[in-house]
Amino acid sequence: MRKVAIIGGGATRSGKREATWRDLVQEAGKSMFENIPNLSPKDVDSLFVGAADPGRFAFLLHVAPMVAEYLGIQPRKVLARTELMCASGQAAIRYAWACVATGLSDVAVAFGVEKMYMPDMAEAQTNMSCVLDREWDGVNSLSAPPFFAMTAQRHMLEFGTTEEQMAKVCVKNHKYSALNPLAQFPKEVTVEDVLKSLVVAPPLKLLDCSGITDGAAGVVLVPAEDAKKYTDTPMYVIGSGQASIGNNVNNLASLTEWIPLKIAAREALQSAGIALKDIDIAELHDCFTISEIIEYEALGWCEKGKGGKFIEEEQSYIGGKIAVNPRGGLLGCGHPLGATAILQAIDIMQQFRGEVPKGRHVQDAEIALAHNLSGPANVHSIVIYSRSMR
């Protein structure tokens, strides 16, 4: 297996954009290629497009060749859309990594794009309601907010987690998104703002939930030995892990203990040859405030049930036990499904390069973990990045 590096990337601003799906693709593609001046689209042999639902949101399928056309790429090795709902972008990165590592591809683009704002938002909500088993769970209106609301309710019951503790996750992530020009919500919030925001599905309020977001992003992966041809500051992909248990809510391992995340994390750390304490930055999938709390626990930064206390003690701020979501998270930056993991990767690269504002810069960070969950937290996907080759 070859070692793999990311040599650069680019993105659109996330948010409610006055732009179509293909406008977003072009904006991010231009930004990506301009970030790597020595790379021509003609050099790219493979393309993976993380896009959760272009069929419903943009009425487009067979989108990978469309992205290739708009980016000036003529793939000659591997081309596909990768759909894994909220982790579609992470799937694109993992496939690109695997293809470069095995020698199948020499220059692979991992791209992500989602256009979620629609003239009628009820249609957008409907599109999101077939993610959980549509005929047996979606039919009961179990889209993400009600599912994670029940997860939060059980976590509160079993471990005494509070709505204030959940609100503090949002406060932290907005503190950092306020310093991120690509963020959908570049604005600080208070615990009171979160608690007083509109109730979506109790106990979750609007600010406990990540947004509906338009956005696109892309990164380029090459064999590590070629990386310095393109940049002095590549970022290395040193490990990865993924695990999934069940799909229908009846068949999940547990609502409040994310066992597939533990399995994925073990695999990711082992493949990278590192320990949890070696990680300086964690980009965790905070689709809801409760998600980040359970993730602290499953990843092992605190004991099971103590995630609420962990944020209350500000252990997940920069300078705490582990810097979690210094990008601003999904809560602060928005969640353009397919683009989210790519945006995490770009921000980590900028952290390593020292290109992020001081207030959210993690000094001397060497290793970062990027995580996405998808569906009813039954699937967890992790990639581990390093500033230096290992």
């Binding site: 047996w136 039919v139 019951l157 979506v200 109790p202």
Partner: protein, 156 residues
Amino acid sequence: MQKMDKAQFHRVNRPETIKLPFMLDFYPLEDAKLTQISQFFQNLKQGKLTTTKCKKCNQLLWPPRIACPSCFSNEFDWIDLGKEGELYAFTEVRIGAPLGFAQDAPFCVGLVKINNLTISSRIDNAKHDQLKIGDRLHLKIVELGDGRVFFRFAQP
């Protein structure tokens, strides 16, 4: 948007309204011509919530199957899950319900423990602030208006 001079252009035919496409209906297909598990819905029409249990390895499976994921047998018994469940978790959908359900909001949904399964369901006849984890709930069969039926749970 910029105003246009309507007299200038030929107006093409487009339908004023379009019926909700069939596959945007959340409820499962239940006719024997359309699904291999129509027995589930036939049982439901008799007032029974059932699911498949593998005859070979005895695994109780939800949702109902036509092939056992443990031993790949096609031989199943339909097991009656009973009429009473226990509330394991619940919430209330206030905003963001999909097309076809939005008119019901706010409404309660929950996870119900029944016969060693934990299945999702609408919770009818319930106010969110009066529901409690552990509440006893009764099976309720609803008809969809087109000959199909589905199940919910309700407070007594």
